[in-house]
């Protein structure tokens, strides 16, 4: 392994600009003559709009234009779309309500877009927005996903507020398994609604060039090409060849910047209408209201066991809150990214899942780090923990007893696990977590009046999203391959154009490590180009832990072609048969001789084209590739959380947190560990701190950092993170993806630890001090600890 090759913890190249304040985020971009957009948002969760009077606002100082839904309709601007069609049990397609970029006659959540004011300054736009007079007819709000039945219809297209009733698995076989069970474990779970909160709020600058009739949109996107595709082909702003989308440095996404939103769309559309650049930057409260939220499931689940502790079957019924509209990939999250993972790491013969996806008068819900898979892990890992406790089994050994051990393994819910070593991760995790010492630590805590608990989570996820034909057969509107282009310059430096997008993942370093490894050149001589649709031809972006497994596989495939061509050039230069050329450590040599030429010199020879016939071998050294995966990848691992509770106050501290993950081959262990740390923090946040709350009127009462508890440094411990390595067989690099694992694994580990400490008293998430205190009192543990 070289110092900068695959497997090396190379310090990140991109850090230099970020630590010196030279990053270039969308809000750092200003275009000459730009105007500023401010959105007037609905203060009501659900209301008809009978009139909007913009006259006074339009006449206010500095105001360039005020647009409403009428202007959008007059220009025939299409609505926002949901790109994954789910079919209900009865075969009918999901009922997608219209999603205009500015409200047309009705608003459906607090924060819904009513009008946009565009002015010379942001302050002028904001001031003028207060002069818009809107007549609302307020309707009842429906915020609770368990209370949509019989409530007032939010969309005419879905009179029962249900987008789809979907199912997966074999109901009859599963019912039969339960009929023969010696023990059935049952649980009711709420998977709390989360608000993603990347630290950079969304932003957009729309820029129209009337000379070429083309639009440039600078936007905070995880997938600029998908944004262009949707804005062009479905919303109809401009054809793709006259539409450029640039997502420069992006300050975190966690899923929330995948989607095509109203604000960015309006900036691009309005820039042409007023023939001036239009800029919008979300403030934090707007982000809370209008970024797509995550999770929000209400689930009843059951696990059937035989007398020996073997799992016979699992069934689950879930109500998934979709919010007021179906966001870009919303329908796929509680279906194919959720129920397909309900087998966990276990050999479960029969599984049946039903999902009712309902509309509520709340912000749209879509993918948030993990996206469906944390919800699945929460169901299966809570059930496994409870199953072990109810039958008096050790939770670690109960899991081990049911692990899948033979690969490939076909689950009853679509997924075919290709490789894994679940017991290997468990063993290592038990050792790191000093499981043998837990009884002594519990006793030590009890001696000082505290309650200590330990919780397990043996998670699996499906990443490397995804084989195009497979997802197409399940309703996806796009293919999920990735593209790459390798441009070798005449002096041997390399530019990699990738359809993946980095917004914190460190691609400029890890992708360069792959090139360095393959071509034997310094990572300093590699540039990664990843953010603009006019540079990179097409790509599918970054989400679902896919950029390593899919994006780098595309680069690897293109590098294969580069190497093959460079061998031919080297053969001509060295006057040897191509079959005699060997390539190692950046040098081409003729087998059995001392004749050699380095990679940079071959690059130059490819471009000067003096040593070969340009009709037989094309000059130049540039290759591209599309990589379409043959399977999902299956990162898996075991996380163990240990908490201590003060029963007098409910204050819970995470005392130890151990993660042992199998991500296959690692490109850069330092970056992998960093991804795991961040994911664990978000998962601990979900389990103990974070939760979006709506009141009965549909007002989001957690719309600032004063009300929504983001994890702070002193809420978290340092984490013990390690890996095992079972290479992924379905891609050339053997990598599985690590971006979401921490957020998937950790919530059940934490809740299992807290409920262990609380003597198995169930607790709702987030397990705040107040909730823990109440649970401890209910169980009488306050007295017991004393």
């Amino acid at each position: 392994m070289s110092a900068t090759g695959l497997g090396a913890s190379v310090k990140r190249k991109e850090d230099i600009r970020f630590i010196t304040g030279k990053g270039r985020y969308v809000d750092d971009i200003n275009r000459p003559g730009q105007a500023y957009a401010y959105f007037l948002r609905s203060p009501h969760a659900h209301a008809t709009i009978s009139s909007i009077d913009v006259a006074e606002a339009a006449a206010s100082p500095g105001v360039v234009a005020v647009f409403t839904g009428q202007d959008v309709a007059a220009d025939k601007v299409g609505g926002l779309i949901c790109g994954w069609t789910i079919h209900s049990k009865d075969g009918s397609p999901m009922k997608a309500g219209g999603h205009p970029i500015l409200a047309q006659g009705k608003v459906r959540y607090v924060g819904d877009h009513v009008a946009v004011v565009i002015a010379d300054t942001l302050a002028q736009a904001r001031d003028a927005s207060e002069k818009i007079v809107v007549e609302y007819g307020v309707l009842p709000a429906v915020a609770d996903p368990a209370k949509t039945v019989g409530a007032i219809a939010i969309h005419d297209a879905a009179p029962d507020n249900t987008a789809f009733n979907w199912h997966l698995g074999d109901k009859a076989a599963t019912d039969a398994a339960f009929a023969g069970a010696a023990h059935v474990t049952k649980v009711d779970l709420v998977n709390n609604r989360l608000i993603p909160n990347p630290m950079e709020p969304r932003a957009a600058v729309g820029d129209y060039d009337s000379g070429t009739d083309s639009i440039t949109l600078y936007t905070t996107s995880q997938n600029p090409h998908v944004a262009r595709l949707v804005l062009s082909a479905f919303i109809g702003l401009a054809p793709e060849h006259k539409f450029r989308v640039i997502a420069p440095d992006v300050g975190g996404g966690f899923g929330s910047k995948i989607f095509i939103y109203a604000e960015e769309t309006v900036c691009a559309w309005a820039a042409r209408k007023i023939d001036r650049p239009v800029k919008w930057t979300s403030d934090r409260t707007e982000a809370f209201l209008s970024d797509a939220h995550g999770r929000d499931h209400v689930t009843h689940a059951e696990l059937a066991l035989d007398a020996s502790g073997k799992v016979l079957g699992l069934r689950a019924h879930t109500i998934a809150n979709m919010g007021a509209y179906l966001s870009t990939f919303a329908s796929s999250i509680p279906t194919y990214l959720y129920a397909t993972l309900l087998s966990g790491q276990y050999n479960i013969p029969a599984i049946y899942a039903e999902v009712d996806a309902v509309y509520t008068t709340t912000s749209p819900v879509d993918a948030y780090r993990g996206a469906g898979r944390p919800e699945a892990a929460f169901v299966i890992e809570r059930l496994m923990e409870l199953g072990a406790r109810e039958t008096g089994r050790d939770p670690a050994e109960f899991r081990r007893q049911n692990f899948v051990t033979v690969f490939p393994h076909q689950t009853p819910v679509i997924m075919a696990y290709d490789a894994g070593n679940f017991a290997g991760a468990l063993d290592k995790a038990l050792e790191h977590a000093d499981y043998k010492g837990v009884a002594a630590r519990k006793a030590a805590s009890a001696a000082k009046g505290k309650l200590r608990g330990i919780g397990f989570s043996a998670f699996i996820e499906a990443c490397g999203i995804a084989p195009s034909a497979a997802v197409g057969s399940l309703g996806a509107g796009v293919g999920l391959w990735e593209s790459a282009e390798v441009r070798v310059n005449p002096i041997g430096t390399v530019e990699i154009l990738t359809g993946s997008h980095s917004h914190g993942q460190g691609h400029e370093t890890t992708f360069a490590q792959l090139v360095s490894d393959r071509l034997g050149i310094s990572i300093d001589n590699v540039a990664i180009v990843h953010c603009a649709t006019d540079k990179v031809q097409m790509g599918m972006g970054t989400y679902g832990s896919r950029s390593g497994a899919v994006g780098m596989s595309a680069i690897s495939k293109a590098l294969d072609k580069i190497e093959a061509k460079a061998r031919k050039v080297a053969g001509h230069v060295l006057e040897a048969a191509e079959s005699d050329i060997e390539f190692k450590d950046g040098k081409f040599t003729v087998k059995g001789t001392d004749k050699a030429i380095d990679f940079a010199s071959v690059a130059l020879q490819a471009y000067v084209a003096h040593k070969f016939n340009g009709q037989e071998l094309e000059p130049g050294l540039k290759e591209s590739a599309f990589w379409d995966p043959t399977n999902f990848t299956f990162p898996a691992g075991v996380h163990i959380c240990e908490v201590e509770i003060d029963p007098d106050t409910g204050v819970t501290t995470v005392e130890r947190y151990t993660a042992v993950d199998d991500f296959g081959k690692l490109i850069n262990p330092m970056i992998v560990h960093g991804q795991v740390h961040g994911g664990i923090a978000q998962g601990i946040g979900q389990a103990m701190l974070e939760g979006a709350r709506y009141d009965d009127d549909g007002q989001l009462v957690t719309a600032s950092y004063m009300d929504y508890c983001m994890p702070r440094a002193d809420n978290l411990p340092s984490f013990q993170v390690d890996t095992i390595e079972t290479p992924c067989p379905s891609n050339p690099l053997g990598i599985k993806g690590c971006g979401e694992a921490g957020a998937i694994a950790s919530p059940p580990a934490v809740i299992n630890a807290i409920t262990d400490a609380l003597g198995h008293e169930d607790i709702a998430v987030p397990a705040t001090p107040a909730a823990v205190w109440r649970a401890a009192r209910k169980r009488g543990l306050r007295q017991a600890a004393e």
């Binding site: 310090k11 970020f18 010196t20 330092m670 702070r712 440094a713």
Partner: protein
């Protein structure tokens, strides 16, 4: 419009601004020093932390006018003569950043922390002192390590006074 003048990163600057202009807006919009970020509306995330007369403040909660005649240091003013400040270097060495958005505020807070609490910082102190800086990417694990290293290095590499 009113005249405001101050010293930013050692350079005298002045401008006519709307009296409601915040320091962070003055830095970002007037001076084009875009390393200082805005991450919230409630003075809690800390992405906007700069030093005012050598002390950390949240520039989103300070009027530019209130800084008239004072010394401001931003993330862009830390590296001297092409050499990174030890706290900047520590963040790279320890993978203390991912998306980079909170990073300038984290580094400015960390330097202030060292000036108040010294060069030998334990984990509990660092975590407690970061209450006003939110990071969504790193889980703070490597930020804590970065600050501990940066603090130690600051003892051996003397810094220019702000």
């Amino acid at each position: 419009m009113v005249q405001v003048a101050m010293t930013v990163n050692g350079k005298a600057v002045s401008a006519n601004v709307d009296s409601r202009t915040l320091l962070v807006q003055f830095l970002r919009e007037n001076l084009r020093l875009t390393g200082t970020h805005v991450g919230c509306d409630t003075s809690q995330c800390g992405a906007c932390v700069v030093h005012l007369d050598g002390k950390a403040i949240k520039s989103c909660t300070m009027l530019a006018l209130a800084c008239d005649g004072q010394q401001v240091t931003t993330i862009e003013g830390l590296a001297q003569g092409g050499k990174l400040h030890p706290m900047q270097q520590a963040f790279q060495d320890n993978h203390g950043l991912q998306c980079g958005y909170c990073t300038p505020g984290m580094i400015m807070t960390a330097i202030d922390l060292v000036s108040r609490k010294g060069n030998d910082l334990d984990e509990t102190t660092i975590r407690h002192e970061l209450e006003g800086n939110i990071c969504r990417c790193t889980g703070y694990h490597n930020i804590v390590k970065s600050i501990a290293q940066g603090a130690r290095e600051m003892a051996v590499q003397p810094q220019a006074a702000e």
